[in-house]
């Protein structure tokens, strides 16, 4: 049964706690707040008992799909398992109970961890220096773009174009536009990779940088990356790599050696820290030596055996986050890297690539792979053939929920019609991959024989097919007193 809103569980006068009478002098709200700013009525907060609140939120949490409960093959999101050891380490009192205003002398252990994490990320990527501040991949991109702008400004010129392949992550053009750049799209070649002729044609004097995702969103490694970097460097344009797909390179290849000038890493993807609602995220940015001066401040510096904050730097783009980013997440990533070590990271990566290729080989006879090659950590199939049965990739994704699998990324990248983008990650067993492949093949049969079943999926979820169009055209985002999504008697009203 669908869970009512917590407001609908409210009963006037019911409470979670009875507070003891106050034994300190009180004050009147209108003594300290201008009267026109005061509410005339109390806010409509839910009135419920403590265990009602606990049951409500526990039930909601149990209705979720998550990495801890289901296979989660969300392409280009790297939803890998979050080892519980990381949680234990991040909860150690010496990390968890620090206050961000504590002086550096009292938090030497934490500073040492942050410093070492920067060194480890440099070793993994071949970059010269890192900032751990950005709180997400997209904020890392924004930080990178500000560094790109600062670099060209220092050279005394204004460049306003960023080249982005059509196979890049969708955040790339958004970040570039937000930073005030013009985005020029590179059309991929027939092999799904960057077309060198297209690159040369669009590489004007105004190009500040190329932003590319490597491997790209088709799960293909840009084989010509060194040549691409050389072509850009000839014009002193920079090459930014979206490192969100770094799970395909760990321990095997280093972007620094490919000619990449700067990149962001998504610790919540590649380095096993919680993702999405389980976040917060972290998107550290690494740069080559000639860009180091532009990194955000503060930076952790090691002087002798001691660590301190460096608050000022003339060329820095400034702060991008309060204090030093989401430090609790950084501790988890550090624990992950140290637990696996160089050998372990490489083996995890190899398993991710093998898992993706295994699944691709199982699905390919039924679902074609338009840009076909050995893939890296993810691959994209097209469900175009199901169109004749009136079944879309979105329908198949929803039907997968009925089979107990979270849906892969759909309709992305845009260069593949009816795309399903699948990334199994290294942690899944052969049994899980087989079950997932069997489910997809079964749905393909359903699409041919019982298309309505797929078109109306999900059937077995607590909430059935939602009206996405109405939700987007007439969003209803706030609860209003006196309105009920579900009737007070508890029976659901579907609209």
């Amino acid at each position: 049964m669908a869970e009512p809103l917590i407001f609908e569980r409210s009963v006037p006068g019911r409470r979670g706690y009875l507070l003891p009478p106050s034994d300190v002098p009180g004050f009147r709200a209108d003594d300290i707040v201008p009267s026109d700013r005061l509410r005339t009525e109390p806010p409509p907060l839910p009135e419920i008992a403590e265990f009602d609140a606990i049951r409500h939120y526990t039930r909601l949490s149990q209705q979720n799909f998550s990495v801890d409960t289901h296979f989660y093959p969300l392409g280009s999101c790297t939803m890998k398992y979050n080892p519980k050891l990381n949680e234990r380490i991040a909860a150690l009192p010496g990390f968890a109970f620090l206050h961000p205003f504590q002086p550096a002398a009292q938090v030497q252990g934490m500073l040492a961890l942050l410093y070492e994490l920067e060194q480890l990320l440099c070793a993994i990527t071949g970059m010269h220096a890192f900032t751990l501040q950005p709180a997400a991949g997209a904020q890392g991109e924004l930080t990178g773009l500000k560094i790109i702008a600062a670099y060209h400004r220092r050279k005394g010129r204004r460049r306003s174009t960023i080249l982005i392949p059509d196979s890049a992550h969708g955040t790339n053009p958004a970040s570039a536009a937000l930073s005030g750049f013009q985005v020029v799209q590179l059309v991929s070649g027939r092999d799904g990779l960057i077309d060198l002729n297209e690159l040369k044609e669009k590489l004007t004097k105004d190009v500040a940088a190329l932003m590319l995702t490597n491997p790209n969103t088709l799960g293909l490694f840009e084989r010509e990356i060194k040549t691409i970097a050389a072509v850009l460097h000839e014009q002193d344009a920079l090459i930014y790599m979206d490192g969100a797909n770094m799970n395909a390179l760990l321990g095997i290849a280093r972007p620094g050696e490919m000619g990449v000038d700067l990149l962001q890493l998504n610790l919540h993807k590649t380095f096993s820290t919680p993702h999405g609602g389980g976040g917060p995220g972290a998107g550290p940015v690494g740069v080559v030596k000639r860009l180091e001066d532009f990194l955000p401040v503060p930076r952790v510096r090691k002087v002798g055996k001691r660590f301190r904050w460096e608050e000022r730097s003339r060329a820095s783009i400034g702060r991008v986050h309060g204090f030093y980013g989401n430090v609790g997440v950084l501790v988890r990533a550090y624990a992950y890297i140290r637990a696996l070590g160089r050998e372990g990271l490489m083996r995890a990566n190899q398993a991710a690539i093998i898992n993706a290729n295994y699944l691709k080989a199982k699905l390919q006879p039924i679902f074609p792979v338009p840009f076909d090659d050995h893939c890296m950590h993810e691959f994209v199939v097209t469900l175009k053939a199901l169109k004749t049965h009136g079944v879309t990739a979105g329908d198949v994704a929803k039907r997968l929920l009925d089979y107990g699998f979270y849906a892969p990324t759909v309709y992305f990248p845009l260069i593949v019609d009816e795309a399903l983008m699948i990334e199994p990650t290294e942690t899944e067993s052969k049994e899980t991959l087989d079950e997932f492949a069997d489910a997809l093949l079964a749905i393909e049969q359903e699409a041919k024989t019982k298309p309505d079943l797929v078109r109306q999926a999900p059937q077995r979820m607590i909430v059935e097919r939602l009206d996405e169009v109405k939700a987007a055209r007439e969003p209803n985002l706030r609860w209003k007193a006196g309105t009920f999504l579900f009737s007070p008697e508890g029976s659901t009203q579907r609209k």
Partner: protein, 138 residues
């Protein structure tokens, strides 16, 4: 069969363009009306959001001038010819479903005062566009 009116011209990226009759004869500036094709709206499926360019903005042929968002994804709509944005269809901002319901009529997007009349004649005929759509389906 997908509707591809013979009196319009088309782009590879699935926009249609119409030269408004009358305006040219009166000696006024010509206007090129722009929208997306029936094939495009069918592929996009239910459109939920339309962002139109500002009137007066100059666009180059092939430059992204508007954005259409459907339940699938967001897509750029490209200017079929260079020029200045002369008018926009505010109705589709309020009711994006017009683009689905009547893409060649009330669901038009914007009109351009072209800066280079030759560009219009370089666009695809209905026959050429129809061939392209069929080629993509296979």
């Amino acid at each position: 069969m997908i509707q591809i009116p013979p009196e319009l011209v088309y782009t590879k990226s699935h926009e249609w363009a119409r030269r408004l009759p009358g305006a040219a004869q009166a000696g006024d500036a010509i206007e090129i009306m722009v929208g997306i094709t029936a094939h495009a709206q069918e592929e996009l499926r239910d459109i939920v959001f339309v962002e139109l360019p500002k009137i007066g903005r100059t666009v180059k042929q092939g430059e992204a001038a508007a954005v259409i968002e459907s339940v699938k994804a967001a897509f750029d709509i490209y200017a079929p010819v260079s020029g200045a944005i002369a008018r926009v269809n505010e109705a589709v901002v309020k009711s994006p479903q017009l683009v689905n319901q009547d893409c060649y009529g009330t669901g038009w997007l914007f009109a351009i005062t072209p800066s280079d009349p030759k560009e219009f004649s370089s666009l695809l005929s209905s026959g050429a566009y129809s061939q392209q759509v069929q080629a993509q389906a296979h």
